[in-house]
């Protein structure tokens, strides 16, 4: 979350000076977002890709220049490169059947609306990859639009449209029982 950016900044500064505990703190702060992105984009093998990405991050951290928010973008672009390599290899091999993705089965907690990770992954798998990527970079890794555009190497207006379409598709796929009332209302209304 941007709320812990001061923490991230401190950890980054110390880690760049060689502090291992600070690097561990960086890992704790950044790994959930990166793993969420990887789970949404590649599904199986996300942990392996994350490990490879972190090896590169650990090696190249002295090269990095920027603050905590910049570090999110930098780590995201490294992770994305590994993810795309993985996807290319996987696409080159036998294309896995798409039917084995679990159906959208929401496990809605009574107190608050919460999706299971599998459901979220299943929903994201139905999106075109750029849309899913834009949504995930934006909301899982918590990048701003400029950083998403830089990570995806696309112009900002394109990223904006991708994000909006991706979110619209997500809302449509999730259906009215899972989304908040505002989404349901917006889906019911003619565009």
């Amino acid at each position: 979350m941007p709320a812990n950016d001061p923490e991230l900044n401190t950890a980054l500064t110390q880690a760049q000076c060689g502090d291992e505990t600070a690097f561990a703190a960086l890992h704790r702060l950044l790994q959930p977002g990166l793993l969420g992105y990887l789970h949404g984009i590649v599904g199986e093998g996300a942990e392996d890709i994350a490990a490879a990405a972190w090896r590169e991050i650990a090696r190249d951290l002295p090269r990095f220049r920027g603050d905590g928010q910049g570090l999110r973008g930098w780590t995201a672009s490294i992770t994305r490169r590994h993810a795309l390599q993985h996807l290319r290899r996987r696409d080159a091999s036998v294309r896995s059947a798409e039917g084995d993705l679990p159906e959208v089965a929401a496990t809605s907690a009574p107190a608050r609306v919460m999706l299971s990770a599998e459901s979220a992954r299943a929903v994201l798998a139905r999106l075109p990859r750029p849309q899913a990527e834009a949504v995930l970079l934006r909301h899982a890794i918590l990048l701003d639009e400029r950083a998403v555009a830089r990570v995806m190497r696309r112009p900002r207006p394109v990223v904006r449209v991708l994000t909006r379409r991706g979110m619209g598709s997500l809302a449509r796929l999730l259906g009215s029982e899972e989304v908040p009332h505002a989404v349901a209302r917006s889906l019911g209304e003619p565009r």
Partner: protein, 258 residues
């Protein structure tokens, strides 16, 4: 839902800024986009909530330690590693550099085109002011020897216009600029106050007195025409030229057409 939304806006303002770009005009639209954001955040939260294992963290830290051991010095920062936010100063510098390059380019083109246009008329202007048929030059080879006869011309000619030193074949004292002044004098002697200028003063200095200017110019341009083989086609421009008493005061010019 409203309370939920407000709370999240406070939490993640950066992520929500995008919402301002589309049309936030109607409350329905705002509600809808907020709902969409909420959906996306639900998905993202579901993906982020996965438990982290310590082995991954340990592996990362080990990789970090190994990298530190392997190379102690800090490597060069590539462009893809620079995620510093762009400061306004950087933007100014970039904009200034772009403006500089653009203006240099346009200025160069403009300058080149000026030279291009100017060069042919200069070639034709020399025979236009020729007086070789009117009065043969008193000493045709005076091109080289003329600077010796006017000692005052040497320092003045040295500080002349930038076009002067380009003719390296001539000695530095050759009053080519004085020749140019003579030609200009032919054209403008009856008009305005141009002859009051410093260049005119230099010409007078070089000629000796004001009355000798015409004869002096005769000599100069006449000898120049000798060296250039171009024929004298426009002799009628000579009409007002023969008067030896050319005046600096334009009001006294008899052929005043202005």
């Amino acid at each position: 839902m409203k309370a939920d939304r407000n709370g999240e806006e406070a939490l993640s303002g950066k992520v929500r800024r995008y919402e301002d770009a589309p049309r936030p005009s109607t409350p329905e639209n705002a509600d809808a986009s907020a709902g969409l954001e909420r959906t996306a955040e639900l998905i993202a939260a579901a993906l982020r909530q996965q438990s982290l294992d310590d082995t991954a963290e340990q592996a990362a830290v080990t990789a970090f330690r190994d990298a530190r051991i392997l190379d102690g010095r800090s490597p060069r920062t590539r462009r893809s590693d620079d995620w510093r936010p762009k400061t306004p100063r950087q933007r100014w510098v970039r904009g200034g550099a772009a403006a500089l390059v653009t203006s240099a380019l346009l200025g160069g083109i403009a300058f080149a085109s000026i030279r291009e246009v100017d060069t042919p008329p200069q070639d034709t202007a020399v025979p236009g002011t020729s007086h070789s048929t009117h009065q043969p030059p008193s000493h045709p080879p005076s091109r080289r020897s003329s600077p010796a006869s006017e000692p005052t011309a040497t320092p003045t000619a040295a500080e002349q216009l930038p076009g002067t030193p380009k003719t390296a074949a001539q000695p530095p004292g050759t009053p080519k600029s004085l020749k140019a002044h003579c030609r200009a004098y032919e054209r403008i002697k009856n008009r305005g106050h141009a002859l009051d200028a410093t260049a005119w003063q230099r010409l007078v200095q070089a000629a000796g007195t004001e009355q000798q200017v015409a004869a002096y110019c005769h000599r100069l341009t006449g000898s120049a025409d000798e060296s250039t083989p171009s024929p004298t086609q426009r002799d009628k421009t000579r009409k007002g030229h023969g008067k030896p008493t050319a005046r600096a005061k334009p009001s006294k010019g008899p052929a005043d057409r202005n």
